[in-house]
C-alpha cells in the first residue's frame, strides 16, 4: 500500500506542477528534500541512541518489567501472540506511556524498537503481524494527556484559554482510538491470506 501512496504523491505532484507551471519549484523540492531527510535523521539519531540507551538501563533495573506487568491487562488483550514479558511488549509499553505523557521524542525511538522486536519475536519475514498493526494504530490514534505543542502554538496565537480544548481533545482521541482498535481487529482477518 505504501507503494501506491508514494507513487501517487509523486505522480500527482508532477502532473499538477506541469499544469500550473511550478516545475522549477518541484525540481528544487526533489533535490533539497532528499538532503533534508538526512538532516532529519541526524537529529533523530541522537534521540534514538539516547532512548535506546535509557531503555536498556530500565530493562536491566527491572523498571520496564514492572511497568509492563502494570499494563499487562491492556497489552495482553491488544497484542495477541507476543510474550507478555518479552522485549517487544516492554518496548511497546514504554512507547505507549511516553506517547501518553506527550514525550514524542522518546516515543518514536521506543516505537521503532518495539516493532523491530516484534519482527524478531514473531519471525514476521517482511509481513506485518496483527500485533504490529495494532501497535501502529495505537500510535497513530495519539492519546495524550496534554497536547503540549498544540497548546504552545495556541498561546503564541493569543488564545484566551489555550487549554480549553482539552476535554474536546480527550473525547475526540478517545473515540478515534476505539475506532482504530475496532478497525484493526475487524480488518485483520481480511488480510490473512497472502495476496
Amino acid at each position: 500500500m505504501m507503494n501506491y501512496i508514494f507513487a501517487g504523491m509523486i505522480l500527482f505532484s508532477f502532473v499538477f506542477a506541469a499544469l500550473t507551471g511550478r516545475m522549477a519549484e518541484l525540481s528544487e523540492a526533489a533535490m533539497t528534500q532528499a538532503g533534508q531527510a538526512v538532516t532529519l535523521l541526524l537529529s533523530l539519531m541522537g534521540m534514538m541512541c539516547l532512548w535506546n540507551g535509557l531503555m536498556r538501563i530500565a530493562q536491566a533495573s527491572g523498571l520496564t518489567g514492572r511497568l509492563s506487568r502494570l499494563l499487562s491487562p491492556v497489552t495482553r488483550r491488544l497484542f495477541h501472540g507476543l510474550d507478555p514479558d518479552g522485549e517487544a511488549v516492554s518496548a511497546a509499553t514504554m512507547n505507549l506511556v511516553a506517547n501518553f505523557l506527550g514525550l514524542g521524542n522518546a516515543a518514536t525511538p521506543l516505537g521503532i524498537k518495539a516493532v523491530c522486536a516484534m519482527e524478531k519475536e514473531q519471525r514476521a519475514n517482511g509481513r506485518a503481524t496483527d500485533a504490529m498493526a495494532m501497535f501502529i494504530v495505537l500510535n497513530t490514534a495519539s492519546v495524550q494527556l496534554i497536547p503540549a505543542t498544540t497548546a504552545m502554538l495556541r498561546v503564541q496565537a493569543g488564545a484566551a484559554a489555550p487549554l480549553d480544548i482539552l476535554p474536546a481533545t480527550w473525547l475526540a482521541s478517545g473515540v478515534s482510538l476505539a475506532a482504530g482498535i475496532a478497525a484493526a481487529m475487524l480488518l485483520a482477518p481480511l488480510w490473512r491470506k497472502k495476496r
Binding site: 505504501m2 501512496i5 508514494f6 504523491m9 500527482f12 499538477f16 506542477a17 511550478r22 523540492a29 528534500q33 532528499a34 533534508q36 531527510a37 532529519l40 535523521l41 533523530l44 539519531m45 534514538m48 541512541c49 532512548w51 535506546n52 540507551g53 535509557l54 536498556r56 538501563i57 530500565a58 533495573s61 506527550g102 514525550l103 525511538p109 521503532i112 523491530c116 519482527e119 514476521a124 517482511g126 509481513r127 506485518a128 504490529m132 498493526a133 501502529i136 494504530v137 500510535n139 497513530t140 490514534a141 495519539s142 498544540t150 502554538l153 496565537a157 488564545a159 480544548i165 476535554p167 474536546a168 481533545t169 473525547l171 475526540a172 482521541s173 473515540v175 478515534s176 475506532a179 482504530g180
Partner: protein, 172 residues
C-alpha cells in the same frame, strides 16, 4: 502546562538512571550498549525517510494541497469539517512539520478562539502523522507487506477528524 512539559523529560531520565543505580546496574556501560543499537536502527530507517520526505516535499511544492482540499471538501462536509480545515486534515497524516505550518496559519487567519481555530487545535491533538509512523516503524523492521495497518490507522484518523468537529460543537 508549560511546567509539566519542561519537567517531563528530565524527570523520566533521572528516574530511569536513578532506579538503575539503586538496583546496582552499571548504568554507563549498559547505556552504551543500548545507544549502539539505536545507531544501527537509525541507519535502517534512512531509506524510508528519504522516500517519504521527498514525496511529501514534492507534493507541497507542486501546490497540489489546495486543489486536493478543494476536491475533497464535499467529503469533509459529510464529516462536518469546515472547508478551512481541509488542508490540515490532508497534511496531518503525511507530515508533522507541514501540518504545523498549516495549523499556525489557520490560527492566525481565523483566531485560536474561533470554532475553526478550536476544531483545528483538537485535530492536531487527537491525530498523528500516520504515514510517517508507518514508513518509519516498518522501514526499520523491513516489513514490506503492511496488510491492514493503513486502512485501520486511517479509520482512526478519519474518526478523529469527525469527532474533533463534533466535540467542539458539543462542548463549546
Amino acid at each position: 502546562m508549560t511546567a509539566f512539559g519542561v519537567w517531563a523529560i528530565p524527570t523520566a531520565v533521572v528516574l530511569i538512571v536513578g532506579y538503575g543505580l539503586i538496583k546496582g546496574v552499571r548504568v554507563f556501560e549498559v547505556f552504551l550498549e543500548g545507544a549502539k543499537e539505536g545507531l544501527e536502527m537509525s541507519w535502517r530507517i534512512l531509506p524510508a525517510l528519504v522516500a517519504l520526505v521527498v514525496a511529501v516535499g514534492m507534493f507541497k511544492a507542486s501546490g497540489g494541497l489546495d486543489l486536493l482540499s478543494f476536491a475533497l471538501s464535499p467529503l469533509g462536509r459529510l464529516l462536518g469539517l469546515p472547508r478551512e480545515v481541509m488542508p490540515l486534515a490532508l497534511m496531518r497524516p503525511v507530515s508533522g512539520s507541514g501540518a504545523m505550518v498549516v495549523f499556525t496559519d489557520l490560527l492566525k487567519t481565523c483566531g485560536p478562539d474561533s470554532t475553526i481555530g478550536r476544531i483545528a487545535s483538537v485535530m492536531m491533538g487527537a491525530t498523528e502523522t500516520t504515514f510517517y509512523t508507518v514508513a518509519l516503524y516498518y522501514g526499520a523492521a523491513h516489513v514490506r507487506d503492511t496488510r491492514h495497518t493503513i486502512p485501520a490507522a486511517l479509520t482512526a484518523d478519519i474518526t478523529g477528524f469527525f469527532m474533533s468537529a463534533l466535540a467542539v460543537r458539543l462542548l463549546f
